[in-house]
Amino acid sequence: MTRVFISKDMASVALGADAVAQAFAKAGCEVVRTGSHGLFAIEPLVEVETSEGRVAYGPVGPDDVAAVLDGSHGTRIGAIADHPFFVRQQRFTFARCGVTDPLSLSDYGVHGGWKGLEAATALSAQDVVDAVKASGLRGRGGAGFPTGIKWQTVLDTPADEKFIVCNADEGDSGTFADRMLMEGDPYCLIEGMAIAGHAVGAGRGYIYIRSEYPFAIEAMREAIARSASRIAPFTLEVRVGAGAYVCGEETALLDSIEGKRGQVRAKPPLPAIEGLWGKPTVINNVLSLAAVPFILAEGAQSYADVGFGRSRGTMPIQIAGNVRNGGLYEVGFGVTLGELVNGIGGGTASGRPVRAVQVGGPLGAYFPPSMFHLPFDYEAFAQAGGLIGHAGITVFDDSVDMAHMARFAMEFCAVESCGKCTPCRIGSTRGVELIDRIVAKAPRAAGALETMPQIRNASRAARTHDEEVELLRDLCDTMKHGSLCALGGFTPYPVLSALDHFPEDFGGGDALREAAE
């Protein structure tokens, strides 16, 4: 019987993989459902097992079964590792994704699984923390805080119980690496969390997954049930979010697990000292925890050998939006933005010129092609007025209206604000109004109060366009420095970068000069 491998990743299913799998099963093949390799232009992808290894075809429809099985199908790729999209990748974290049956414990063991946990349990807690420190691993959720230092704090804080919390509330548009890993290699995350538990002395872990990821929730729950004895006495539980973006912020996430409104806590105290239920808690992103098994199994040095500057190791970069070859691209830090968008991504899907890319989700900056020389690195992006965040890149073609995108950033912040701090709660709504007035070239007239004779220190004239733009910058400054968390604090990044790099979309240029006269 011929064995074929077809992804059951949510993206592949959305593109029709279920119907393809049924067609192959009906033709008498043994169908193994895997995770996705991560290039969506070739999904649904079918890999046929032959004596020379797996031969890939994609995209494949349910009517193509016979042509694929006799090798005559036109979309023959050959070995997937030789495909141009995959050939230069460095798959440390995603090595098994797309290759194995995600829920098969024997597949996981055969492909190097549990080696990291075995290595860790042979070491003392401090040695494990030292290995993570030496690897240079930084938090993959966006902030880039050194993971080993966070773990050290939890290890050093005495308590009767400690927790490992995995932040799988991947709400940023343009990102899907957490989802792909949880669906395609759930045991990798489980192993990483078990190692973290051993390293800091925590007995229980929670994985907080957003409700928009039903496939990931199911995969993780099943994987936890199957691997319970392997990670014992460490125990794990999935908690499901309820559609609140702000719960991706770590302290809001902790409140949500505790059964409260997902409101941000003031820091300090840090979660590492007073986290879940007031106990010392390691809270890390899926990709941070999933990088740990490799570090323990292969040695911290082999992870640290890859990378750029202070950004060590690999980053699973997600190329998304209006792009021809969108997908997951895991590679060492240092690759340039232009290489990712034009070289690997192949430019826009619409065939029109690239006008802007947003890096790091809804709170990341927009960059024009003139900045495509930037290397993918935490510090380089911060210096350029942006962030790499969770490493999602959303590509826009020249039909995009950047003032509209800036307005959307404010609107999104207003919808998703938890309401705890004023700059975010009210500033975002005022930001929407302000951008509306700027775009409509309808600056605010002087208010009734301002024109009263008793008021001497307020301007009595209507605002000019320049003054409205200045006010928007001022508002962004207030939000950036006055907000409790990254939602209000980073919303200015897309707004200001759109304003700085694409002023023409804000009624700038001629309109600005007219207003100044």
């Binding site: 993206a11 990821y213 998304a320 939006g321």
Partner: protein, 154 residues
């Protein structure tokens, strides 16, 4: 007619698991079973978890997922986030809204279909995307809009 006894039975069943921080999982369980979280359930939940009614109400109203009224027979959740916008999501939203005869964020009066916004399904390279009754649909174009509309009318 609110099924108070049924809700109480569901709460009692859930409470046997003795879970820490049980409010969100309990609300999910109730919504799964009854389709929505009836406001009449609030005092029962509060009593079971030793919380105030205000705390329970606050959590229900905070999270977008929790409904206090029965849902439409079919729910189409269309992504409105940046990646889908970059692939023509706004035009698809207008077409879908027109085709279904319901504004974004609302249920149609006959209770047949609701069109709800969602901010990212994690399928960002193959948008515009939607969940049609929890089934993911990608690369939505004009033809798929019509197919979705036909599907939910059935």
């Amino acid at each position: 007619m609110t099924d108070i006894a049924g809700i109480q039975t569901a709460i009692d069943r859930f409470m046997q698991s003795d879970m820490r921080g049980a409010l969100l999982p309990l609300l999910h369980a109730l919504q799964e079973e009854f389709g929505h979280v009836d406001p009449a359930a609030v005092p029962l939940i509060a009593d079971a978890l030793n919380l105030s009614r205000a705390e329970v109400h606050g959590v229900i109203s905070f999270y977008h997922d929790f409904r206090t009224e029965p849902p439409a027979r079919h729910v189409v959740k269309l992504c409105r986030a940046e990646s889908c916008q970059s692939r023509g999501g706004a035009a698809i939203e207008a077409q879908l809204s027109h085709q279904l005869g319901v504004a974004m964020g609302h249920s149609r009066k006959d209770g047949q279909v609701a069109l709800e916004p969602v901010y990212c399904l994690g399928l960002c390279a193959i948008g515009p995307n939607a969940l049609v009754d929890d089934r993911p649909v990608a690369r939505i174009d004009s033809a798929r809009v019509v197919a979705i509309a036909n599907e939910v009318e059935a």
